[in-house]
């Protein structure tokens, strides 16, 4: 179990879905970085990421790591948001049979997990299939 500041530092991206956009080449990223991985510019703007995207690939995990046993089985997808930023998200409130590559999703705010028996409850983004 790690300390509270570790999660606190992640608040912009985890609680507010902040990302980055390179002002020089236009590349969008999650999370924001100091240096653009495409053009090495340090001219990065913090932006609100769109809440809509599509599934690029997905899986349903049955064998869970410590801390996620209670959620198993759960779906996870790589989602591309409408501005091109990509991120890994759990897919929730969706029948597994309704998850397909190319399907539209919207990003929602959910509980990720609890750090140990007396740890903090960590929240963050997950996704729901729209159609």
């Amino acid at each position: 179990m790690l300390t509270i500041p570790r999660n606190w530092r992640e608040k912009p991206q985890r609680y507010m879905l902040k990302g980055g956009k390179c002002k020089d080449c236009g590349y969008t990223m999650y999370p924001a970085r100091k240096v653009c991985p495409k053009c090495h510019s340090e001219n990065i703007e913090i932006i609100d990421l769109p809440r809509e995207g599509k599934i690029l690939t997905y899986t349903v995990i049955y064998s869970a790591p410590e801390g996620f046993e209670d959620f198993s089985p759960y779906a996870v997808a790589i989602v591309e948001l409408t501005n091109g930023a990509r991120l890994m998200l759990q897919i929730v409130d969706t029948d597994f049979n309704n998850i397909e590559i190319g399907k539209k999703v919207s990003v929602v705010f959910r509980r990720l997990f609890v750090e140990g028996k007396a740890g903090i409850i960590i929240y963050g983004p997950k996704a729901i299939v729209e159609d």
């Binding site: 991985p37 997905y58 064998s63």
Partner: protein, 386 residues
């Protein structure tokens, strides 16, 4: 730079080795390598290990290895690059010998994975992915490679049955490898009917938790030739390492491992070889899909054709390009930090013609492919008979 050769090799049994600690394993493999090389002194040690801290609550392992081998006062360095720790350790040892800094370098890889329960082990392994942006979503390593497999099957109309052919082949090969974790032959139906770990990957699509260690001794080629009582030196003619994004989501293409392509390109160039020149390959089949992507990215088959090629038997020991005759990570076992060195040990046996029931006919040039995380670190090494 001096030419570098492998002179000694050592490898322990792979499996659930309750009776042996990580240090027993590392010392056993190291001693075997030292004795088989005919050298009486070591100038430097590299230890490939992924996560001693979480698997056995021990860091600073390289010093323990030097201490327990009775080689105090020489440099001993642990290298960690996830599942590529062994391959990266080898590259550092290579550079130390090639540069002229040292003449005799021991490289050992070790992992002791069965002192923790499976969910803890899965958690430890997930630290090789991006903790904040993959681990926090509950993504496991089977999960990451399942994301690759799902996309591969979608893009190339590949089937679970074709993926299963990797596991069937590697179990068959492992059944003839006395050091392997598994000696049971499995069928396509066994793979397809096994419990699902992360859709579409089932239990038999995944490499196991394994204890084990492997070692090699590197020396300058010219000095190795003069050793009187050593086994035949095998030249390292190409060795390269490359890096990709830590997070799978940040890649342009989820079914092509760019670090494999880049490392292979450099290693082929350094060795003056092309994919057609390779007689035998040990590739990083941590999951069935990983072997299929590897044999494409290494240039043995076109992208999208690897699954069918495996199903058609082209990667069998007597096939067009024998892949993982040792049984690979799937059949031989995958003690994470040891894997990259075990591959070299297996290839040296092949190139010396000592691979017994697993021998590939006329093997003169071998390739090892060691991959860390979901492909963020890759090493490719080309070995050659001189």
């Amino acid at each position: 730079m001096r030419d570098v050769a492998v002179v000694g090799i050592g490898i322990t049994n792979f499996g659930y080795l309750w009776e042996k600690s990580w240090r027993d394993l590392a010392v056993e493999a190291s001693l075997e390598a030292i004795k088989s090389s005919g050298v009486d002194k070591i100038d430097s040690i590299y230890l490939g290990n992924f996560s001693g801290g979480t698997f056995v609550e021990q860091e600073h392992m390289a010093a323990i290895l030097a201490d327990y081998l009775g080689f105090l006062h020489i440099p001993s360095t642990r290298i960690e690059n996830a599942c590529a720790s062994g391959g990266v350790a080898l590259r550092h040892a290579y550079m130390e010998v090639a540069s002229g800094m040292s003449d005799v370098v021991l490289v050992t890889g070790v992992e002791k994975m069965t002192d923790v329960v499976t969910s803890q082990g899965v958690y430890s392994l997930s630290m090789a992915a991006d903790r904040e942006y993959e681990g926090y979503q509950g993504v496991t390593f089977p999960g990451l490679f399942a994301l690759v497999a799902k996309k591969y099957m979608h893009d190339f109309n590949a089937t679970r049955k074709q993926l299963a052919a990797v596991a069937v082949k590697n179990h068959k090969n492992a059944s003839k490898n006395p050091k392997a974790q598994f000696h049971n032959i499995i069928t396509i139906d066994d793979v397809l009917n096994a419990s699902i770990i992360a859709d579409p990957l089932g239990l038999y699509d995944c490499s196991p938790m394994t204890d084990g260690a492997a070692s090699v001794i590197l020396m300058p080629l010219e000095k190795a030739k003069k050793l009187s009582n050593a086994a035949k030196p095998i030249k390292i003619s190409g060795i390269a390492q490359a890096t990709d994004t830590i997070a799978l989501a940040q890649r342009n293409d989820f079914v092509t491992f760019q670090a494999t392509i880049e490392a292979a390109k450099k290693a082929y160039q350094m060795a003056g070889k092309s994919p057609q020149d390779i007689n035998v390959a040990e590739v990083h089949d941590c999951f069935t899909i990983a072997e299929i992507c590897a044999i494409e990215d290494l240039g043995f088959f076109e992208k999208g054709k690897g699954a069918k090629a495996t199903e058609d038997g082209l990667t069998e020991i007597d096939g067009k390009i024998p892949v993982n005759p040792s049984g690979g990570l799937k059949g031989k076992g995958h003690p994470v930090g040891a894997t990259g060195i075990a591959q070299i040990v297996n290839l040296v046996e092949q190139l010396r013609g000592q691979a017994k029931d697993l021998q590939v006919n006329n093997a003169k040039v071998g390739l090892a492919h060691n991959l860390g995380g979901s492909g963020a670190t890759v090493t490719v090494t080309i070995l050659e008979v001189i």
